[in-house]
């Protein structure tokens, strides 16, 4: 930051102007901070790609990575053309109605250059879109995914975003979601739930007796790398959502809470899976860390570190039980996207109303500090309406795709792998993959 400061100072001194205004310096520093956040959130795309690739079978790896790659491209386009306008344009409580292609907007937004603000928000939009790839992995048609990813990032995500971050009806009610447990993760997680349910389980996931079988992921090292990248990127996701540095106290609080929740999520998930199944399963422990991160995303600026520990620890337990529950309900989610983002997104949103403090910027103290359930009630309303909207609209989107171009590949293609079927290319050319499932 010192560097930025002196750079700003030098440029104005050399230009022979008067000293830089304090306001100008503040905007410069905030812009650098938010862009750093945007770049980190963009890098989470790599994290999602690696996690999803690692958790699925080798024969579909090229396919899932192409989906992860293209959905950020589609989200960038969709969020530029209409998404930003729907989310942040002037309109009504339901959606924004101007600012298409960023035209006609003011040059700054919340004290930041519009373009920096857009890039930060676009990276979030891409994250919401990419969550779904994992849940629907190993059987969804590629062109169906392209259509889906454009629609969610241009329409569905921005509308929920408008309600909560764009001055819509939920934010007017006092609903708070600091960095997106609801806006990004609940939307992505429940979109994945709808899509996964509509696709049906992968071939061979359930035996004739209806019991779930193991279709093991092909690369735990890739998945681990992905989780570390996501954890790293999450510092930008949460701490960047302050949209400014302003003294540093808030970003420091957000960063430590983010880290503690992830750590405790990993610990309790590992303990839970160890106790229930006899072995400390790394893939589940890593899901636990992600669950902690998702859960702390909404409350990270409004809670104390001890609360972050509790929030993360609970999320780590929730995610394991949710994975088991979904498996038994025959909802086949290969990477745990619904359990991590859907379930823990809701948990994190409620945590604002439980552990949040009025002294840290909330309207009401959380339930843990006062007997007033007001904030918790508002959080519940926000969570439920977001789920209803996400489920209904994504059901429409997937149904439309299913009727027109089809959602699922043929059985033959699925058995042979989508890499060859959809892309005519293997992820591991020259290697012999021993596949028995």
């Amino acid at each position: 930051m010192g560097l930025v400061f002196s750079a700003v100072l030098n440029s104005t001194v050399l230009a022979g102007e008067e000293g830089p205004s304090l306001e100008g310096i503040k905007q410069s520093i905030d812009t650098v901070w938010v862009l750093l956040g945007a770049f980190l959130v963009f890098f989470m795309q790599a994290g999602f790609g690696m996690v999803e690739a690692g958790f699925i079978r080798a024969k579909n790896t090229c396919n899932i990575l192409t989906k992860n790659f293209l959905d950020f491209c589609m989200a960038s386009l969709g969020f530029f053309l209409i998404g930003y306008g729907l989310m942040f344009g002037d309109g009504n409580g339901f959606m924004g109605l101007d600012g298409w292609c960023l035209s006609g907007l003011q040059e700054t937004k919340d004290g930041l250059p519009l373009y920096a603000y857009w890039l930060f928000q676009a990276a979030f939009c891409g994250a919401a879109a990419t969550i779904v790839a994992g849940g629907m992995a190993e059987r969804m048609k590629f062109h169906a995914y392209l259509i889906y990813s454009f629609l969610i990032s241009a329409i569905v995500y921005p509308i929920v975003g408008h309600w909560i971050w764009g001055g819509g009806w939920l934010s007017n009610m006092g609903f708070v979601d600091f960095a997106g447990s609801t806006v990004v993760h609940t939307v992505g997680g429940f979109a994945a739930l709808v899509g996964t349910r509509m696709l049906g389980p992968r071939e061979g996931k359930y035996g004739l007796d209806g019991k779930p079988k193991v279709l093991a992921g092909h690369s735990i090292p890739l998945a681990s790398l992905g989780v570390f990248i996501l954890w790293f990127g999450w510092f930008g996701f949460n701490a960047g959502s302050t949209l400014g540095v302003s003294g540093g106290a808030t970003i420091a609080r957000v960063a430590i809470n983010t880290n503690l929740a992830a750590a405790l999520g990993g610990i309790t998930a590992m303990a839970t899976v160890w106790k229930r199944f006899g072995k400390p399963d790394l893939s589940m422990a890593m899901n636990g860390a992600l669950a902690g991160l998702v859960a702390i995303t909404a409350p990270c600026a409004f809670v104390d570190p001890w609360a972050a520990l509790v929030i993360g620890a609970t999320a780590g337990y929730i995610v394991i039980r949710a994975v088991e529950l979904l498996d038994n309900l025959k909802i086949d989610d290969p990477v745990g996207a619904v359990a991590v983002h859907g379930f823990c997104g809701v948990w994190g949103t409620l945590c604002v109303g439980i552990f949040g403090k009025a002294a840290l910027g909330l309207e009401h103290d959380g339930f843990a500090y006062s007997a007033n359930p007001m904030q918790l009630g508002i959080q519940m309303v926000g969570s439920v309406t977001t789920i209803v909207f996400a489920v209904a609209s994504m059901w429409g989107v997937f149904k439309l795709i299913d009727i027109t171009v089809g959602l699922r590949v043929s059985r033959e293609e699925e058995l042979r792998g989508l890499d060859i079927g959809e892309h005519g290319m293997e992820a591991y050319g020259g290697f012999q993959i021993f596949s028995t499932s």
Binding site: G204, R416, M425, Q432
Partner: protein
């Protein structure tokens, strides 16, 4: 004693295993194999260049059986692996000269057991 060697489609392995279990054949070795036969290959493309893949992925099963189990074993493999399409695979039945169980030193019929 016979040695049954079968090449089947990788994705039919589960069905073959189940059919063999149903026929009370529990012992087998499975390895990856590449092969070509009547089934034509398929086209892949890499960075804009098309090429034909004609060695296709198969799995190879080896099962040593006593003479009275040969027919059941072969029938089970056919039942599990058959789709009716070209590429379902082939089964070879060979005479087996000897079989030794390393742990006990048993030989012949007993060792196959």
């Amino acid at each position: 004693m016979k040695l049954v060697i079968a090449y089947v489609q990788p994705h039919k392995l589960q069905d073959v295993k189940k059919a063999l279990y149903d026929a009370r054949v529990f012992k087998m070795s499975v390895t990856n194999a590449l092969g070509c036969g009547e089934q034509k290959g398929y086209h892949e493309s890499y960075r804009g260049v098309q090429f034909e893949v004609n060695l296709l992925k198969k799995v190879r099963l080896e099962i040593a059986v006593n003479d009275d189990f040969v027919d059941e074993t072969v029938e089970a493999i056919v039942k599990g692996a058959r789709t009716g399409e070209i590429g379902d695979g082939k089964i070879f039945v060979l005479d087996l000269a000897q079989c030794v169980r390393i742990r006990t030193g048993e030989v012949g019929k007993k060792a196959i057991g």
